[in-house]
Structures are given as C-alpha cells and as structure tokens.
C-alpha cells in the first residue's frame, strides 16, 4: 500500500511514540508531535486506518499494526541511509541534515535504497549513532549507557545522541564531542548532576546533567 509523504510522516510519528512506550497514543499527543491541530490528526488517522497501517477506534487512540511498523522501519531505513550519505560522502554537518532527510526519506525506490546501501558499505548506524534497520526491518542494537550513568574514572566511547535538535548538535560540535570520541569521567557533582570529562585523552570539559543524559556511550 502506497502512502503519501504526509501519511508517512504521521506513521513515523506514531511508530516513534509507540516505541517510546506511549500506548495507546492520544490524538492530542500526536497533534503536538506533528505540529498540527487535533482535527487534522483525526482526519489522517482515518486514512492510515483505511490503509491498514494503524488500528484506530474513535476516542480510544491509536495502535500501530505490524504492516505499519514494517512501513515505518522502511522509511526510517531510507532516511538514515541518506543521512549517512550526506555526512560521509557530501561532508554535510550534523545540524544540516534535518530538512534534506525530511525530503529524501519519502523517495520510494527499492533499487535506489539497495544500491545506496551497497555504495555506503552497508552501514549499521546513522551519523547520530542510531541503528539503521536492515531491509527486513531488523535493528542491530548495542547497549547504550548515558554519560550521566557512568561512574568516576570510567571510560567509554560515544556511540549516539538521544537529541537530534540543531541547537544540541551545534553545542556538541563546539564542545569537541562527536560519535566515536573517547571520554573519561573525571568528576561528578552530586548537587546538580553536572560532570567533568576528559575527551579523547586531551581536553577537559564540563557538561550539565541535561547534556550528560543525552549522550549515549559504550563503556570500555
């Protein structure tokens, strides 16, 4: 079943909310997420339900179906492969991706995606460290520990960020933090949860609790 770009965007949103444990999803939550009005959401839910992507009962909220889940993973795969391309091949910057991947992820061509995957060397993670679903929608995942949960003296490698907002990404860049960077916890301040890190064995850096919670690592 073919979806319009708008339908695909809603489906991504529904999948994301459901994956983060919110279930059933309310019309208002979805309206909030999609930056639109509840009345528009109701319209769209009817369309997605008619196409078998969600199960939707009036006033009872939304659940994604397995067909919907599969489609959402397909869209996510397209988006993330494009993101890898934009960063690795075109040398775009973290915070320059959003608008472009929003457009590119809706181009539906199995051939294109298969070739792109091959061209990129079958990447397993996007530039933010999130896993890329394979062509069957399977996700290979590693344990991810927020910097905030690391102990003093513990070392880890940054493997992902859990906030893709432009302001956060710009901050990380300026602070010298990136996917793959090694960090060592020098100090934790109990009072406010802030931390002092040693980045790449050379640079000392203070970060707030909020920042520490959004940087995900693989501990050594």
């Amino acid at each position: 079943m073919e979806l319009t770009p708008a339908e695909e965007n809603y489906l991504k949103g529904i999948y994301g909310l459901e994956a983060s444990g919110i279930s059933p999803i309310s019309t208002n939550e979805l309206a909030d997420l999609m930056q639109t009005k509840p009345a528009s959401v109701t319209d769209m839910l009817k369309k997605l339900a008619r196409k078998g992507m969600i199960s939707y009962v009036r006033y009872q909220g939304v659940h994604i179906t397995s067909a919907g889940k599969k489609k959402a993973l397909e869209i996510t795969r397209r988006r993330k492969l494009w993101e890898v391309f934009l960063v690795e091949k075109l040398r775009l910057h973290w915070d320059e991706l959003a608008g472009l991947s929003d457009a590119l992820e809706h181009i539906s061509s199995p051939l294109l995606i298969q070739r792109m995957d091959e061209f990129l060397g079958y990447p397993k993670f996007d530039p933010f460290g999130d896993p890329i679903p394979n062509e069957y929608g399977e996700i290979s995942s590693k344990p991810r520990v927020p910097v905030l949960e690391l102990k003093i003296e513990q070392s880890a490698k940054i493997i992902a960020v859990s906030d893709n907002s432009s302001s956060f990404l710009k901050y990380l860049d300026k602070a010298g933090l990136f996917i793959g960077a090694k960090v060592l916890v020098l100090d934790k301040v109990d009072f406010d949860g802030s931390m002092e890190l040693l980045v790449e064995n050379k640079k000392r850096l203070f970060i707030s609790k909020e920042v520490a919670a959004n940087i995900l690592t693989l501990p050594f």
Copy 2:
C-alpha cells in the same frame, strides 16, 4: 520565488519547448507535453505568470521570462547532477533514471547541490551526453552531429542521445552503443536512410534512419 514541484515541472516543459524553437507556446501544446488537459494548463499559467516565471496573455500563448529561464536551468542542473550520481556512483542504468530524477530534481538546497557537484568532480555532461548548466546557468556546449549526417568512412565518438525514452535506451544498450563509443560509418543506404556502423573497431551494426537521427556524435 519558491515554486511547487508541479510548477517546476511546467516551467521545465515551457523552457524545453521554447528552447526547441516553438514560440509562443500554445496551451494545447503544453497540455500535450505535460500529459494533462488544456484547462489545467490555463490554471497553471496564471500561477507561473503571477510568480514572474512566464509572460502570459490570454489566448496569445506563453513566453518564458529571464527569471523563468534561470529557474528552469537551476532545476535542470539539479536533475542532471543527480543523474550523474545515480549512474556513476550507484551504477544505475540509463533507463532506470527517469522516475528517480523526477523526484530528486525538486529538492531545493544550494548546499546539497554544491556539495554534490564537488563530490562528482564538477561533471560537465549528464549520462545522456547533455551539458549540465553551471551554478550561473551557463551551458558549455560542443558541436553535435547526428550519426545520420556522418559520411561513409567517417569516424566519430558518441557524445549524446536526443531521445531519452526507456525503449530507445534499452535498444541502444542491447545494440552495444553507449556514450563514449567510437563508431565508423561503413555504409549508408540511400533508399531508407539506414546505415551500417563499425562500433568500437570490432562490432558491425545496422541501424535505421530513426535511430541514426537520435544518436549525436563528435566527429574525429
């Protein structure tokens, strides 16, 4: 002035007709080209005129403005750069490009296009041998002689095709003809205009007048 994808497609069509000498362009011609109805064309012409892309007088047909020309060249540039990418990097085939470039050419991002140009090594021609406008809309062109106009014993290199239809491209592929191939005219049949060629110094090939007219060469 931002154009919708539909407006961009019409503008490309208008530019193409005008470049091929048809001027002013009639509503019917455009409807024919765009595979739509004259009434829809009239609607669209009003929109494009309001946006300064064309000059349009009721019942008098269409002329493209310099702003429209510039925009059309920009869209063409985007398309052709994507086509180079799809063929050179993703190893797609001539006849697999159409649908994809139709979608990709509407993604408007100067940064993306600039980086893509750089990544591809500033290509001057698309996979069909047509020149790619530079960022100022300038086109570098070479003389192009249809195979049909070559004389017996004359050698030339295939540099372009003037018909991008899937059926023609598949035929060329099957016949072993491609951009860059060397051809030598062995014989010309006056009666029907058909020709016999020697391709790449090894393979003999008979082609019809229609085919010969649509293969463009740079004679040695």
